[in-house]
């Protein structure tokens, strides 16, 4: 729960978090090393100086640290944990559903753990979707189209094999597709940052929600165009939001474009933990106001009501979280502070 300086309580759903193991022990090769180093570079490049972590902690953090950063020091009420395997780079996967679910089971009201698929594995993937549904009752997936798989260096959402997976997801009620579209690894097989496969998939699977993480940056214009036409396309603010600290005017330009095109009901907060921690992001976001000239030029505003939607209510709707009911539950079991 975030309590604003005015005393209002804001329900926070952190739409994009990870419980990863990028430590040298888990790395398979140079790519594993370079991947976590790239994440660490993001952390360094966009965090306020007082928020910087040591590299060893960044590579692998404990359950207690995560819990503390999100719910004790941080304002999150519910965190959505994404699974990312990068099987070619990490022995036990970068962030596996088993490891995350094991941790999340201790705090059932706090976490939603999403699965992950690689359609290139064919029928095995379909079996795996059943496995995740039966064992973890997943509501969503993280789709990392840039993942390497042997000779292949990427896939697209509109590949026929991917469509088979989405058909099954639709049937099983796995509704929320978090698509990584943005920087870091570039799927070499495709046009570097192309987001158009989202357009095809979102049109062909109207029952599914397509949450485009990082808002497709650096193709925010293409993303906005797709989101205008598809009601089931959402923008996740991970990576976009940290600019609020280093380049606030530029953040204002991005968020105003998103408000104008994508709309206030289709934008979701996400800290991208542990690249960034939610506390400073939420505090700065709440305090943020659009410059007058941008308001006039675009005709949009970032009011407290809109901020509240972005910070939690929009994601709550996607994940069927009854906010009042959940608040009551969380109040009756306040955050546990681990014994130091």
């Amino acid at each position: 729960m975030y309590k604003t300086p005015e005393g209002k309580e804001i329900f926070i759903v952190d739409g994009h978090t990870h419980f990863w193991d990028g430590s040298p022990e888990n790395q398979t090769n140079l790519q594993g090393k370079q991947f976590i180093e790239c994440f660490y570079a993001y952390h360094n490049a966009l965090s306020p100086p007082e928020q910087l972590w040591e590299k060893s902690r960044f590579e692998k953090y404990t359950e207690d640290q995560l819990y503390h950063d999100l719910f004790v020091d941080g304002p999150d009420d519910v965190a959505i944990i994404q699974s990312t395997y990068l099987k070619d780079f990490y022995k036990n996967g970068f962030s596996s559903i088993e490891r995350s679910s094991h941790m999340a089971a201790k705090y059932p009201d706090r976490f939603i753990v999403n699965g992950s698929i690689d359609p290139r594995d064919g029928n095995k993937t379909l079996e795996y979707i059943h496995y995740m549904k039966e064992n973890f009752d997943i509501q969503g997936l993280k789709l990392y189209t840039a993942e390497w798989n042997g000779k292949s260096k990427g896939w697209a959402l509109n590949d026929p094999a991917a469509y088979k997976c989405f058909e099954l997801c639709d049937k099983l009620g796995i509704k929320n597709m978090h698509v990584h579209k943005g920087p870091t690894i570039i799927p070499l097989n495709k046009d570097a940052f192309d987001v158009h496969d989202v357009d095809h998939a979102a049109t062909d699977f109207q029952n599914l929600n397509w949450i485009v993480e990082h808002c497709g940056q650096p193709r925010i214009d293409d993303f906005c165009w797709i989101a205008v036409q598809e009601n089931n396309v959402y923008g996740g603010l991970a990576v976009v939001l940290p600019f609020i600290h280093s380049r606030p005017y530029y953040f204002a330009e991005m968020i105003s474009e998103l408000l104008f095109w994508v709309g206030e009901d289709n934008i979701l907060f996400g800290s991208d933990y542990a690249i960034w921690t939610p506390r400073w992001l939420v505090e700065k976001f709440w305090a943020f106001e659009l410059p007058e000239e941008i308001k006039q030029r675009t005709g949009v505003d970032l009011t407290p009501e809109i901020k509240e939607k972005i910070l939690g209510l929009n994601a709550a709707a996607l994940y069927n979280i009854d906010v009042e009911d959940r608040k009551a539950k969380l109040e009756s079991s306040p955050v546990l502070v681990a014994a130091e």
């Binding site: 370079q34 570039i186 097989n189």
Partner: protein, 279 residues
């Protein structure tokens, strides 16, 4: 005798009297990161230069992350080789990309004069570099043009004045902002390359396809340019931040001039001269 330099080293550590190094550097200044439309030299991508008495030049560069797009890396490396080999004393320019997921393929391809399509046939069969070059030339044009249009509006030119402005008039405008003054030259270069305007009476501003702009349509047109710029700025800000983190140990002190400043005779560095631009 060959001379190897690391560009962030201090003056005392290298022989700065070699004019050939400066010539190579100036050629590299004409090579841009296609995605950012900024010179590879300004971005800090060039790590080392080597010039020998037979006219062989070695250029070593690296990018902000191991994962940067192979197609952009290939484009930049090709352009570096091409631009440096334009110097008449250069017999051969060898380009070396370091710390990249496809460094081997890029280095072999560029130095052996093979095409991107050939080198990456298995991974990117449908991709040639010409389309990408074209796409990003358009973005570069749009970005530079936006700076000019907004700059002129700030200087109280009316939208009508702007859409009717001739090249002759454009060349006489004196921007007080350093970035605007820089982009004034760069926009002039790109409209020349694209043959959109050449003679003094030609209109300075049109769309990328050569279509006329109108005063009533200028707001909408600027909205399109803004979206292009927002993308490019995102990449640019990230690249700078990531590069700083990746090679932190090589970052020079902020105020101390680096070798590059000495080579180019710009000590103190050009930021210090900001106020000297005529208003």
């Amino acid at each position: 005798m060959s001379m190897t330099i690391a560009l962030q080293q201090r003056r005392s550590e290298v022989d700065l009297e070699n004019p050939k190094v400066a010539e190579v550097w100036r050629q590299l200044e004409t090579v841009c990161d296609p995605e950012l439309d900024e010179p590879v030299t300004d971005m800090g991508f060039i790590e080392g230069l080597e010039v020998d008495e037979n006219g062989t030049v070695g250029i070593c560069f690296r990018l902000p992350t191991y994962w940067c797009s192979a197609n952009f890396a290939f484009l930049m490396a090709t352009d570096m080789r091409h631009q440096v080999e334009k110097l008449d004393w250069v017999s051969r320019a060898r380009v070396t990309l370091k710390d990249h997921m496809f460094e081997e393929q890029v280095n072999v391809g560029v130095n052996d004069g093979r095409s991107f399509r050939e080198i990456f046939a298995d991974l990117a069969p449908d991709q040639g570099l010409d389309e990408i070059r074209e796409k990003f030339r358009q973005k570069a044009f749009q970005r530079r043009q936006e700076v000019m249009l907004l700059g002129l509006r700030r200087m109280s030119y009316s939208d009508d004045d702007i859409v009717k402005m001739t090249l002759q008039h454009y060349d006489r405008v004196r921007f007080s902002d350093q970035e605007e003054a820089r982009q004034q030259r760069r926009y002039r270069d790109i409209i020349g390359e694209l043959e959109l305007a050449n003679s003094p009476g030609d209109l300075a501003f049109c769309s990328y396809g050569g279509g006329a702009l109108t005063a009533q349509g200028l707001d909408g047109y600027l909205a399109t340019l803004r979206a292009v710029r927002i993308n490019m700025e995102f990449s640019g800000a990230l690249c700078r931040g990531l590069l700083n983190t990746r090679y932190k140990e090589l970052k020079p002190d902020d105020d101390e001039p680096t070798l590059v400043d000495f080579i180019l005779d710009r000590v103190p560095p050009r930021n210090a001269g900001k106020d000297a631009v005529p208003v």
